[in-house]
Symmetry: C2
Subunit: 410 residues, 2 copies
């Protein structure tokens, strides 16, 4: 497990901070070629599908049964870590390999998937491969080009995919898999802080992003009395505190989180009272109503706070992403697997997007989390111990075996 | 008055936003040549001194009497207005001209000064000409170069100055003038909001600038529970609100103003909890103790607020500029002049720096303010009406006549 992860961690772009392996690049293709050889050495037959997903297939015993799929992604963000995505691909490979080596033949075919371009790329959308399987990779997304003028369609073709088929609907049909299970690092601090090895993921949060604009007036910082100012940065500070305070209150009841991560203000000079500020609120919650109520309250309450400072507030919707709920049979299979192997677990939602939320649109889907040291992710410090990875792989194996035994063969 | 101001407003750099006439540039030199011709047509003899200051001189009746000087500066900031500095130069010229035309001969010589480069230039320091008169234009300042590699010394020579003499001490000796009076636009909203035509300036505030660094931790905005965050932007918001609140409280008693005008934070991404923030506090007050006590309290109180968020606070002193108090005899002369002409006035401090604060180091100095529409300055919207300018010039004339009558001839 650890050996394969460290092998992939050496196949990176030397011109970028470690451990960078961006989708569509030469290091990514080298990683893919190595993975494909590993899949084949483990006894899997390999294919790259129309969505550019690398698949390793173990045959099942029952003719006509839909495959059970496992996997994640091998691409990283710039400066991203060694475990995000990769841990899930390697764990899926080791599960299939152990079954193959033990001569166990599942009823359903078992597919190991390395989804293409889970991280947002220079071409725009994230989760390119899993969107193609869900049938939501639109022609507009495929036409978008990177800075060098290459379209996503052309880049997908370089990866061995087929953009025409990918644009035409779900590339493996309306019901591609009997079930899909993704193991992933948590990318947050909850499991570590509670001393738990496994998280059974209930779903992925809905996200609403609002852009807020605070309009004040630029004035001389020396000559303008305090009570005659309309300081846009003071207004922005009110909003940042309000978002943090209200999110802390809501978090206890609903698990909502909200962040002001992006902000600019003008003219940004030490001797000028700030004229305007532009900030983005990112609010996430298991229920879309939860994020909508939250951002509505911020705009209402913030607007009245800012009026008290002589400031105007405008807001624009930047992003609305619906939440997804994972399938109860898959969640139960993961929980049962942890119990069977004697590993404590908790149910939790995912605050980050994953390939699984796209696959959940076309088949019963679930995820399990393993701990992230210090909750760090998308950074070179990202770490999960070998033991934690092995516990995750054990649970993945047991969950797949239970699904193989209990799911209808169709 | 207005005609001369509008004439200068047409001598600008067409490549920059109106009304830009940066010191050391070709448009500045054209403005200077036109001013020199106006000085001479008004009956003044002209000279450019070693500090690059253009002077127009009216002889006095008493041999050996020190001159009384009036004036301001004709350079602007980029996008600066038509009145900042220029109003004071033109008013001084009109005062001298009216005396010359009426055949009135003051006891003291009367000098009209257009100081060189009051605004901070590409070479570094502001108030180049008035510093040369005060003897505080250091060799290090003269050696500093602009982006094109020209030193301030070379630029000063292009303006007709003598950098060697300017570096050697006060260019007109330890007591250059019997007194100096500068008329200037307020650059703030106080006179307009109180319906007053004249401000008698008591002094220029002291300034302390602190750079504050808030250190938190970057985390995923979706996966990190609210209570486990160390959000540097939330800490920065606490500081911005604290500075504003404490400055509002202090302002009533001491006139202190404080501003967070400059701030950056990292990594500035909508989906990442901010790791660090860097902000500048600019605090100004008539007493240096006032600004020191204020910034000490912000660092103390802010540090404890931030510790509650798990954040560290570091601070660095960026600038300490001592306040200056104008000479009581000059302040009285300006107040008496306003009374004599029937114009209401108030005493007020200047929150911005001026040539007068440098000249105050070597002779009795005072300033009067005329209103700025909407308090706007350093912008094309900068405006003072012809009537307001004429009231200012009247008061300047009367103040100079009183000083001429009452100051010892030495």
């Amino acid at each position: 497990m650890e050996g394969r992860i460290q092998h992939l961690a050496a196949i990176i772009d030397p011109a970028l901070p470690p451990y960078t392996r961006r989708a569509f690049t030469e290091p990514f293709l080298r990683g893919r070629r190595w993975l494909q050889a590993e899949f084949e050495a483990a006894g899997l037959s390999t294919v790259t599908d129309a969505g550019g997903n690398l698949m390793g297939k173990l045959a099942g015993s029952e003719p006509g049964a839909l495959p059970i799929a496992m996997g994640s992604h091998s691409d990283t963000v710039v400066g991203g870590g060694r475990y995000d995505g990769i841990a899930g691909v390697v764990a899926a490979l080791e599960v299939a390999q152990s079954l193959a080596e033990d001569g166990m033949r599942p009823r359903h075919p078992l597919w190991v998937v390395d989804f293409l371009a889970e991280e947002a790329s220079d071409y725009g959308p994230s989760c390119v491969g899993s969107r193609a399987i869900a049938g939501t990779l639109s022609p507009a997304m495929l036409e978008a080009a990177n800075a060098q003028g290459e379209s996503l369609a052309e880049a997908l073709r370089r990866m061995g995919g087929d953009p025409d088929r990918a644009a035409a609907g779900p590339i493996h049909g309306r019901e591609p898999f009997a079930a899909f299970v993704e193991m992933h690092i948590e990318q947050g601090p909850v499991l570590e802080s509670e001393g738990l090895p496994i998280g059974v993921v209930t779903g992925v949060v809905g996200i609403r992003r609002l852009a807020l604009r605070v309009q004040g007036q630029a004035d001389h910082a020396g000559t303008t009395p305090m009570h005659m100012r309309r300081d846009a940065l003071v207004g922005a500070a009110e909003l940042i505190k309000l978002v943090h305070q209200r999110a802390r209150e809501a978090h206890t009841h609903t698990g909502l989180v909200a962040t002001v991560g992006q902000m600019t203000h003008s003219p940004n000079q030490s001797n000028v009272v700030p004229e305007s500020a532009l900030l983005t609120i990112d609010a996430r919650c298991a229920s879309m109503q939860g994020v909508t109520d939250f951002t509505d309250a911020i705009v209402r309450e913030g607007g009245s706070l800012l009026a008290g400072h002589g400031l105007a507030l405008e807001h624009t919707l930047v992003l609305d992403a619906e939440p997804c709920s994972f399938a109860p049979p898959v969640r139960q299979a993961i929980g049962n697997a942890a119990r069977k192997r004697g590993h404590a677990f908790r149910e939790m939602q995912s605050g980050a997007g994953h390939d699984a939320m796209h696959i959940a649109q076309v088949c019963p889907t679930g995820m399990l989390f393993v701990p992230s040291r210090g909750g760090r992710s998308h950074a070179s410090q990202e770490h999960t111990t070998t033991q934690q990875l092995c516990v995750g792989a054990e649970v993945l194996l047991e969950a797949v075996l239970e699904l193989d035994a209990t799911l209808p063969l169709r």
